[in-house]
Amino acid sequence: MTIAFVVQRYGLEINGGAELHCRWVAEHMRKYMPVEVLTSCAHDYITWRNHYPESEEVINDIRVRRFPVTKPRRPEKFGRLQNYILQHEHREKDELAWLEEEGPTSPKLIHFIRKHESDYDYFIFFSYRYYHAYWGIHTVPGKSILVPTAEHDPVIHLKIFRDLFRMPRAFIYNSEEERVMIQTLSRNQSVPGLVVGVGTEVPSSFSAERFRQKHGVDGPYMIYVGRIDQNKGCPHLFDHFLRFKKDTGSDIKLVLIGNTVLKIPSHPDIRHLGFLPEEDKFDALSGAELLVMPSFYESLSMVTLEAWALGRAVLANAHCEVLKGQCQRSNGGLYYENYPEFREALKLLLASPRLRAVLGENGKAYYDANYTWDIIEKKYLAIMNELGAGR
């Protein structure tokens, strides 16, 4: 059995959620079967400009075939198109034009899939909303498995996606909420699907002290890890945090890890450390009082799983159903809808180390039961065996 993972970008230096998810799953499934990756030459997810050469290379023992992007995305035109289709009545043609503008538009990738369909047993497509997944699944519906990585994003309601969700042979969902959302939207209950998610690579050793010394962080701190972006709810986090400091006089600090596209408020208790290597990230997580996840849209939130893997409590945005559901299922974190709830929840967490410890333990137990790599691999194998048996 040979598997092809089809993803919008691929590389060791690419840390986007779905892309990293794909790489980790591919690297783990390599133990069981020959695995290849089909991807674009893009590195930047805003424009999809060709960055890598059109070639084959081997990354961590996996053959990666790259195909060029013929039309880079023009963000302004894309924004206009997206506003138009979200705010006006439109036709399917408009949605397809939007999809083509969204990219990464790589017809060669689709031609390759069509030509080499018989060389692979299954094509596992990541991220439903991109060109490669839409046209790839249309090319090989009988051999396609979709990992949608869908969020509560307005574009999921587009007609082209409702139809798309009925096409693949199977689905691999990231969370129960994602499954319910997609099934409610597209009524694709007849398409087999399994909630799997993704594991994480927890380093064997990590040290909070090392992090504090290296980055000069002292005192208690809460941590946010991820892209510092409007969509991730960061402006709300800054506002809530500053108001919390003002209202309670707490000495808690906010440590931010990740690249930013926003202006971060200048405050002595807000520390932005930029993008850090994995080792530093885990060191920082291990020393934090809690992880705060203000994001409104998540299909899984790997960093939340990482915090739970380290036994850290989580404070999440309840507007994100996935995060709220994960907190409720794991009993590993609290969630808030507005500032008063944020204030009370954070006050409670900071006042009670025991509560933090219990939530962290619950989170770890949940992680061990559902998101270790053994379990993830078994679930992937199970769905492929099930499809194989039905052939």
């Binding site: 609290l334 969630y335 808030y336 709830e341 204030r343 025991r354 509560l355």
Partner: protein
């Protein structure tokens, strides 16, 4: 874990937490309750002292009438200089020295006309019946005309006081008129706004009704289409079943034909074998016959030779 002897249940900031069996959903419900009960910090921060020059809001929520102004306040000499801002907007009922339509004001104020204030120093009667009364007045005025200087001398201080009071009351009246106009204007403004909001609500309700109808219609259409699709699927399944039956029969026939062909093939094979054997036998017999012919020929020749020898 900073407590050396942990309790099973502990209250933190009035929240009950069962650490051995923690339920995040229940805990968050308690937090939400606590957040709702906590004094809103934003409100404390944002409540600014009201602008002393602003008028009290005429909104329905703020409809409690302010305490009535004291008559002394209305007659204060400095009341004319003060801006018409913080003055109470209570309808004037008792302060006007001139009984008129304004004195009988009852809500709604906006429906009543605002009469012009009379001049406070007018010597003309402000109101009263014409005719006999006026004639009597004229006669009396003529009679007391010679005593006017004495009357003026005696009544001057009272007249001055009365004049001042009337002036003051007039100013107050003007102020109340202004306020009344303002109130009238505000009420009209709010009425217009309420009307506009009502219209918008009506429009939105209409739109909502249309959308609901459309939604219902779409659902109905969807259900119909779903039904049609189901029927088509059912028909297709039936056709498939029928085709499957026909195919089974044809397959059986085909199996029979195959058996027959196989039999014929075996027969052919056996016949070929038998014919081959017979041919070989025929060849053998031919060969034997040829040998026998030669033998006979030889024997005939020998017989002839022997006969010739015996004849010799």
């Amino acid at each position: 874990m900073n407590s050396s002897k942990p309790e099973k249940t502990k209250a933190i900031d009035s929240l009950e937490i069962d650490y051995d069996n923690i339920d995040v959903a229940a805990l968050v419900t308690q937090i939400q309750k606590a957040a709702a009960e906590a004094p809103p910090v934003e409100a404390r921060e944002t409540v600014a002292p009201r602008d002393s020059t602003s008028l009290p809001s005429p909104s329905p929520r703020d409809s409690t009438p302010p305490p009535p102004a004291s008559p002394s306040g209305l007659g204060a000499p400095d009341s004319t200089a003060s801006p018409p801002g913080p003055a109470p907007t209570a309808p004037r009922v008792t302060t006007s020295p001139t009984p008129g339509p304004q004195d009988s004001i009852s809500p709604p104020l906006s429906l009543l006309p605002i009469p012009p204030s009379p001049s406070p120093l007018s010597t003309e009667p402000l109101s009263g019946p014409q005719g006999l009364k006026q004639k009597t007045k004229k006669i009396l005025r003529k009679l007391i005309k010679p005593f006017f200087p004495v009357i003026r001398l005696l009544a001057f201080p009272i007249h001055e006081e009365l004049r001042t009071t009337i002036e003051s009351l007039h100013e107050t009246n003007k102020r109340l008129d202004y306020l009344f106009q303002l109130l009238h204007f505000q009420e009209e403004k709010y009425d217009r706004r309420v009307e506009s909001v009502d219209q918008r609500i009506d429009r939105n309700e209409l739109r909502l009704d249309t959308l609901e109808e459309r939604h219902g219609d779409l659902e109905q259409r969807f259900d119909q289409r779903l039904e049609i699709v189901d029927q088509r699927i059912e028909k297709s399944e039936q056709r498939l079943d029928r085709s499957e039956g026909t195919l089974d029969e044809r397959l059986k026939d085909l199996d029979k034909s195959m058996d027959y062909i196989r039999l014929l093939h075996n027969l052919d094979h056996n016949l070929v074998v038998e014919l081959t054997k017979l041919k070989i036998e025929a060849d053998t017999l031919k060969t034997k016959f040829r040998i026998l012919e030669k033998d006979q020929e030889f024997l005939q020749k020998r017989e002839k030779a022997l006969e010739e020898r015996s004849a010799k």
